[in-house]
Structure formats: C-alpha cells, structure tokens
C-alpha cells in the first residue's frame, strides 16, 4: 500500500516537472549526464590515463574529437569520465545532508524551548563561516577520496537544511489540519507520520535538489583548487584548472569540461526549479548558504 502511494506520488511529481519546458530540459540534461556517468567506462574511445607524447596539445581532429591535453591525453575520454566522481560524491552527500538536516530540523521545530534556542545559535555560527574553509581544511589534513568527501559534504551542507526544515515544521504545526488531527485524538506518532512529515517532505525534496547543485559547484571548485580528486582520475574542475596555463595554445582543453560541467549544473538547477514549482514550494527567495 505504502509503496503504491510512493510511486504514485513520484509519477505525479514527474508529470508536473515534465509539464514545464524548464523541467523537460533539466531532466534531459541530468538524465544524459547520469547515463553517461554509468556507461562511460564502457564506451570511451581511449584510455583516460595513457599519455601519448606525439599528441601533446593537438587540435581537435577526426580521431580525437576534442583534441588532446598538455600530457597528450584524449580530452573527449577525460570529459566523459570527468563527471563520475563528482556525481557519485554529491549525490550521496545530498541524500545524507537532507536526511540528517531534515530530521534535526524537524526535531528542533517540534521540541522548541531552550534546546532549540541553543542549537540554533550553533547552527547560525556554523553558517557564518565560509563553506569552503572547512572543506579545504579537512581535505588538506585528512586527504581526498569519496570516503572523506561524502561525510564532510553531507555534514556541512546539512546544517542549512536544519534551518529550512525547522521553519517548515513551524509553518505546518500551526495549520488547522494539525489541530484537527489533535482534536480527533490521533496519536502523536500518527500525526507526525501522516500529517506533518508528508508536508515537510516536499520542502526537503526541493532542498535536496538545490543542495545537490550547490554541492556540485563546491566539489568542482574544490577540485579546481586542487583539493578534490587525486590527479590521474579525470575530473572537470581539475581539467579546467590544468588547461589554464596552456589556454592561449590549446583552448579546447578548457572548452569541453566547461561545457560538460555547466550543462550538468544548469540541468540540476532547472530540475530543482521545476520541482519546486511542481510541488508549490517557493524557491526564488533562497540564497545558497
């Protein structure tokens, strides 16, 4: 019964997104990228790590569609593989962030009182430290790799979610249908499950989609700064960073990853936008924190 409902709801959301041009473009872009991330190891034309010194900085040609980089590696291959790590890390971290942030926000919103006051001050304090600082620090000291990045991203990006979930809880608790459920004499747990949670879930879904795109931004910024993935692994941020020194000779080494990264982030944002509209959650008032 529950499963049936979940699928039904998903179908409704999907239809709502597909009804808008922004949703269609966004889903298409994200879908292509996810598909590419899954299939790319099977279909890439060359090996991503093989360096051919005859090819160093050659222009795009029939065999190497996007040319080769400063070490003679095929740019197309590296671009196709470059999103895998980013998608993997940010997807899992977004889920973790929404999960822990959402639950804590719900809890704080319901409990209120002194605990809420104190913990919210700590949340404020965390939010006033630039997001990039802790990421840089932890990566610099503990090292890179998905096993470090996923919990780190998940934790720090969950903090703003607490705020959102708490505000949403406050918003819903004051509504009439909660009072009605109380008056009917429903159990607390039932109210929580059947009345409160479904209404907050919408907000959290939109939040998750947005966090995902901002995390991708942060992830690629990190790897651009050299704190993301370890070098032989292809990554867009790192590729763009590497291309900067040879930009005047071989601009194509920058263009392919730029297009790939931008299209994924724009796709994710369009998805989040249309998801928000389909669910009726206001999005334009948000600022990335």
């Amino acid at each position: 019964m529950l499963n049936h409902n979940v699928f039904q709801k998903l179908a409704i959301i999907l239809m709502g997104m597909l009804n808008r041009p922004s949703g269609r473009i966004g889903l298409l872009l994200v879908g292509v990228h996810i598909l590419l991330a899954i299939l790319s190891p099977l279909i890439v034309p060359f090996d991503f790590a093989v360096m051919d010194f005859n090819l160093v900085m050659t222009a795009p040609s029939g065999t190497h569609w996007f040319g080769a980089d400063a070490l003679g590696r095929d740019v197309l291959t590296r671009t196709m593989l470059g999103g895998r790590q980013a998608l993997l890390v940010t997807c899992f971290s977004a889920i973790i962030a929404v999960f822990w942030g959402g639950l804590s926000g719900l809890f704080l919103g319901l409990v209120g009182g002194r605990i809420d006051d104190i913990l919210m001050r700590i949340v404020d304090a965390f939010m006033s430290i630039p997001w990039i600082l802790f990421l840089l620090l932890i990566v610099a000291v503990v090292g890179t790799g998905p096993m470090v990045l996923i919990p780190t991203f998940g934790f720090f990006y969950g903090i703003p979610v607490i705020r959102i979930a708490r505000a949403a809880t406050h918003d819903v608790v004051a509504r009439d249908f909660i009072t009605a459920a109380r008056a009917r004499g429903e159990k607390r747990l039932t109210i929580l499950q059947k009345e409160l949670f479904p209404n907050i879930l919408d907000v959290l879904l939109v939040e998750g989609a947005m966090r995902w795109s901002w995390m991708l931004l942060a992830f690629s910024s990190l790897s651009f700064l050299g704190f993301g993935v370890t070098p032989p692994t292809p990554d867009w941020g790192l590729m763009i960073s590497d291309s900067r020194s040879i930009m005047s000779i071989a601009p194509w080494t920058a263009l392919a990853p730029v297009v790939a990264l931008s299209s994924l982030i724009i796709g994710l944002n369009l998805c989040a936008d249309s998801l928000a509209k389909a669910l009726g959650v206001d999005r334009a008032q948000k600022v990335p924190v």
């Binding site: 001050r121 700590i122 404020d124 304090a125 965390f126 006033s128 430290i129 630039p130 997001w131 990039i132 600082l133 802790f134 840089l136 620090l137 932890i138 610099a140 000291v141 503990v142 795109s213 931004l217 690629s220 910024s221 651009f224 700064l225 941020g237 763009i240 960073s241 291309s243 900067r244 930009m247 005047s248 601009p251 920058a254 730029v258 990264l261 931008s262 982030i265 724009i266 994710l268 944002n269 369009l270 936008d273 206001d282 334009a284 008032q285 600022v287 990335p288 924190v289």
Partner: protein, 316 residues
C-alpha cells in the same frame, strides 16, 4: 526598538564567540599542530617537544583557547610560524585587497541587479523578462571559475584587452590594482547580481499582485508614480537582507576567483595557508571572514529595522 537593537547586537557577538569555539575545535580535532607543520619532516623527538614548549602548545586545549581568544580581543592574532611574521601583518594588506574587490563588485552588481530585477518583475513574462531571467540562471549556476576562465580566454587571450592575472604585490598601493581588478570584479558581480535579481523580481511580482497596489490602481494612481512610491519601497526592503547574505556568501566564492586571477587577497591567502598547514593563519582568517559575515547581517537587520515602519513602531 532600542531593546531589539541591543538584542540583535548581543546575538551577533554570541555567534562570533561560538564561531571561535567551532574553528578552534575543528582545528584541534584534526591531526597536526603548528609545530608539526613548521618543523615538517623533522617533527619528532625533542625538537618537536621543545617547539611545543616554546609556543605553549603542550598546555591543555582550554587554556590555549582562552589565551588565543583574549589575545584576539587585544588585537593580537598571534604569530605565523610558517611565515615567521605576525599573522595580522600578513592579513591586513590582503584584507584591504579583498575588500576592494568585494566593494567594487557590490557597487557594480547591486544597482544593475535591482534595476533589471524591477524591470523584469514589472514586465513579467515579456520578452525582456525571459532573456533576463534565463541569463540570470546561467550566471547563477555556472561556477565562478568557469565564467572567470572563459572571460580570461575571451578578453585576455583572444582579444588581449585586459590582463588575465594580477601580478601586483599584495601591499602595493590601490591604484596599481585598477587594471587587473576589472575581470575579477565582473565575474564576481555576475553571480551576485543574478541572485539578487531573481529575488527582486519575485518580490516585485508579489507586491504587484497585492491588495494595496490593486487599490492604488483602482484609485487611478499614475503607473510610474505607483511603482516608485508604492511598489519599490515594499519590494526593496527584503532585498537589504538578501544583499548582505549574498555578499557574505561571496566571501566563499571570492576564494576561487582570487585563485583564478592570482589576486593577492584574503581568499588566496586562505588556500595557501591551508595547503601549508599554517593553522594560526587559518584560524584568524576564518574568524575575520565570519566577523564580516556577522557584521554585514547585523547591519542589514538594523537597516531593515530602521527602514520598516512596522518593525520600528513595534513594542516589545
């Protein structure tokens, strides 16, 4: 109202204290300390112990925190072992450069954003609005380093109009930064403008459909008079907070842009300090950036409090 202002200031200070605890705590829990970073591979045995003793790192964490915090209150940020200089002397010129960058970007971005946001909110769903909104999504979503890289590619590699990287020394006089700062300012203000623009657009649309504007319409108030006297004051009020938050958020984006353009600011210093584990430096930069954030938000809140009659006359 005075009580509210005091409350707000107190909360801001409390946040700063908490920030200092968090920053100290995080750095404390990560492995390594200033001495291991300073000594590098030689960090073992008596040499390490001597160094720790000399700089008081063998004392318990709580004592060191209290010491650090009281020194900062006196204006002493400590000494960077790695750079062999007082932290404050290194930070100050770079803070000035980052402030120059941020202020210029704000002065360029905010007016443009408000203008375009109001226009596209008033002419909702017309051709101009569609172009502006689409452009804003692009500017907002594409990472700063991508726009910056593309701009270097166009304006300094292909057209050769502007320098692609800044080679000025950190403590050079401001005038020497002027040519190098143009591209960083544009790429920074693009992102900021896009966020503010979207917010202004939605609030303008919201206000335009509200009852009191309908009332004004029905009364026959001329269109532009209505826009300037009725729509803008209530639509722009929430943007004060947003501008503060966006500027604060930019402090993160500034890091990337400064690295791209090799701009000698606080952000690049932070990345360098993290890379060579200059923890004293990292702590101080984090605290300063958080201080800017808190101060900006505080200022915005107070401004809203003063500007909004509903809050100003509220009794508490």
């Amino acid at each position: 109202m005075v009580k509210m202002i005091y409350q707000r200031i107190f909360l801001g200070l409390l946040t700063l204290v908490l920030v200092s605890v968090i920053v100290f705590g995080v750095i404390e829990t990560l492995p390594g300390d200033p001495c291991t970073a300073y000594l590098g591979r030689m960090a073992q045995g008596t040499r390490l112990e001597n160094c720790r003793q000399e700089f008081g790192l063998d004392r318990p964490a709580l004592t060191r925190y209290v010491d650090w915090a009281t020194n900062i209150l006196k204006g002493d940020f400590g000494i960077s072992l790695k750079r062999k200089k007082p932290v404050f002397d290194v930070i100050l010129p770079r803070l000035r450069n980052t402030a120059l960058l941020g202020l210029s970007a704000t002065m360029l971005g905010v007016p443009i954003a408000i203008f375009l946001g109001v226009i596209s909110g008033l002419w909702r769903d017309r051709k101009l609005d569609l172009w502006v909104s689409t452009g804003a999504i692009f500017a907002m979503t594409v990472p700063e380093f991508v726009t910056a890289t593309l701009m270097i590619l166009f304006f300094s590699v292909w057209l050769d109009w502007l320098p692609g990287i800044v080679t000025t020394r950190p403590d050079a006089p401001i005038m020497e930064f002027l040519s190098g700062i143009i591209l960083p300012v544009i790429s920074l203000s693009l992102v900021m403008a896009a966020h503010i623009l979207r917010m202004v657009r939605t609030t303008v649309i919201e206000v335009m459909t509200s009852d009191f504007i309908q009332m004004a319409c029905l009364k026959g108030v001329p269109y532009w008079r209505m826009v300037f006297y009725h729509v803008l004051p209530s639509a722009l009020l929430p943007t004060i907070n947003l501008v503060a938050m966006t500027i604060a958020w930019l402090l993160g984006g500034v890091v990337v842009i400064e690295v791209v353009f090799n701009y000698p600011g606080l952000g690049r210093l932070m990345v360098n300090a993290v890379s060579d584990r200059d923890l004293t430096m990292v702590q101080s930069i984090a605290l300063i950036l958080a201080g800017i954030y808190v101060a900006l938000n505080l200022f915005a809140d107070l401004l809203v409090l003063v500007a909004n009659p509903r809050l100003r006359t509220m009794r508490t």
